[in-house]
């Protein structure tokens, strides 16, 4: 007997049809952008930083480009998945209304939410893999650690995607999205430990960065790429990252079910 395709995967295959139309644009923004940062900061700023011996010690004895690269994989995953969980999710309920279309089939809110999560992990993975491929061409950043770093980027992606989805499926208006971008995503991009160690920042800002999943992902990914892995730390950081994803998923399912099946 044939086994039925699990609901979330059917939702993912719907996302794939849409992506097939838009992937060029998507890949452009999610790949070219981190590469520009890598060139501009890694090579440009890196030349200044690496000349200063004291600084390289602060960075854990690696070149600046090697320090920044895993951070960029994580921040890009965060940015892509955050944006994909705002307007597109609200549109599924309010504008395109395709979530209502799905709700009329045998699939339900759980399938939509889990499908979104798998899809976001895939998007973060595709983006992360593209950046990793480019990094493999640079002597300072080439390492097998790039492979687990891609997986860390996927975890960071869903850690932002799912709580934001939980907000998006409950919100009546899209006015909150720019605020999330301005007050969470962009500050984390700047102060989340991607471009310099958190220790350079005032205590209060450090706690802000530690509260969100990004920094935890950056630390783990960097451990892998620079070959300085503390496994107990990895477990703790990843558990925290996945806790965000799990809470976001549970809340999303509950709120979406309420919206789809009033």
């Amino acid at each position: 007997m044939q086994i039925a395709t699990p609901g979330p995967l059917r939702v993912v295959s719907g996302h794939l049809v849409v992506f097939r139309r838009l992937w060029r644009l998507n890949l452009l923004s999610s790949f070219v952008q981190p590469m520009l940062y890598l060139l501009g900061l890694g090579v440009g700023v890196g030349a200044l930083v690496d000349r200063n011996a004291g600084s390289t010690a602060t960075l854990g004895g690696v070149s600046y480009v090697a320090f920044v690269a895993p951070g960029l994989m994580a921040t890009t995953a965060m940015a892509v998945c955050a944006a994909e969980s705002m307007w597109p999710v609200m549109g599924g309920l309010k504008w395109r209304r395709d979530y209502h279309g799905i709700a009329a089939t045998p699939l339900d809110a759980t399938d939509i939410v889990l499908g979104h999560m798998i899809w976001m992990a895939m998007r973060a993975g595709i983006t992360g893999a593209a950046v990793a491929t480019a990094l493999a061409f640079v002597d300072d950043t080439r390492s097998w650690g790039l492979v687990p770093a891609v997986i860390v980027a996927m975890a960071v992606g869903i850690a932002f995607a799912m709580p934001i989805m939980a907000y998006s499926v409950g919100a009546e208006m899209d006015g909150g999205f720019p605020a999330i971008q301005r007050f969470v995503i962009i500050p984390l991009f700047l102060f989340g430990g991607a471009f310099y160690p958190l220790s350079q920042l005032p205590e209060a800002v450090q706690w802000f960065a530690r509260a969100f999943p990004l920094w935890h992902g950056v630390v783990v990914a960097r451990g892998f790429t620079t070959g300085d892995t503390d496994w107990a730390g990895v477990a703790g950081h990843l558990a925290y990252v996945l806790l965000w994803a799990a809470v976001g998923t549970v809340v999303s399912i509950r709120r979406l079910a309420g919206r789809l099946y009033p």
Partner: protein, 308 residues
Amino acid sequence: MPEPLIVARGLKKRFDEFEAVKGIDVEVQPGEVFGFLGPNGAGKSSTMRMIACVSPASEGTLRLFGMDPAVDGAKIRARIGVVPQLDTLDTELSVQENLWIYGRYFDLSRAECRRRATELLEFAQLTDRADSVVEHLSGGMKRRLSIARSLINEPELLLLDEPTTGLDPQARHVLWERLYRLKQQGVTQVLTTHYMDEAEQLCDRLVVMDQGLIVAEGSPRELIDRYSTREVLELRFGAGTNDQFGPQVAGIGDRFEVLPDRVLVYADDGEAALAEAHHRGLRPESALVRRSSLEDVFLLLTGRSLAD
């Protein structure tokens, strides 16, 4: 008699304080085209959403194919097709892609999705638009695509919520013809409408809903015979004077109704009624004799016209 496809008993739907459906009994037989007729806010859409298993009933029992939506919602949804009031198509995708995606939700293989999509595009007369992006389609084409999409799982029951609202007359007739074909193929249909002509054209049997309750049930012909006269005389007096002249037709025919823009006289012989009105010295700006319609039934049952 075969087992009814839909059975509802004392079905109610409450949203917080507001009761949208106040306890209705409905039975729909296989192969039947059944209509919910009523003005906006009558509770038609709430009823449809309960039948479509996307809205739990607040009270009463509901069974589709003998199953309870609260228990077997997904199983029931696998066997029905839904054409929602607002299109839920992905407007950024092509006509074909919309069908493929929807087929995947029902776990059809890619090859099967393609095969059925080709057939359904033919049925919906959209074959030459297969690769068009949905955004560029006309309203009537989008509606036809919605219907095609709802048929991708070869449903035994098709639910249509206001299928032709917002379409021009020609597009409506094309749609009606397609729905008639589906009926001939034995697909049971349940639809809501506030258009009388649509209900008369399509429905074998219908219920008139008003303020969350069913106020009458029967075939369009039965309802007209039971509640109205054979013919109706419509008299239009000068703007603002219908109130004043209306009462003067009292006693002509069975009864009369004064509307803001005209006076309706219900009589089995409309021409005779008109002669009598002239005889009484009434000089309307225009007069028209027509057959009774569901519009008249509705007016009588609810005291309001459907357009309200």
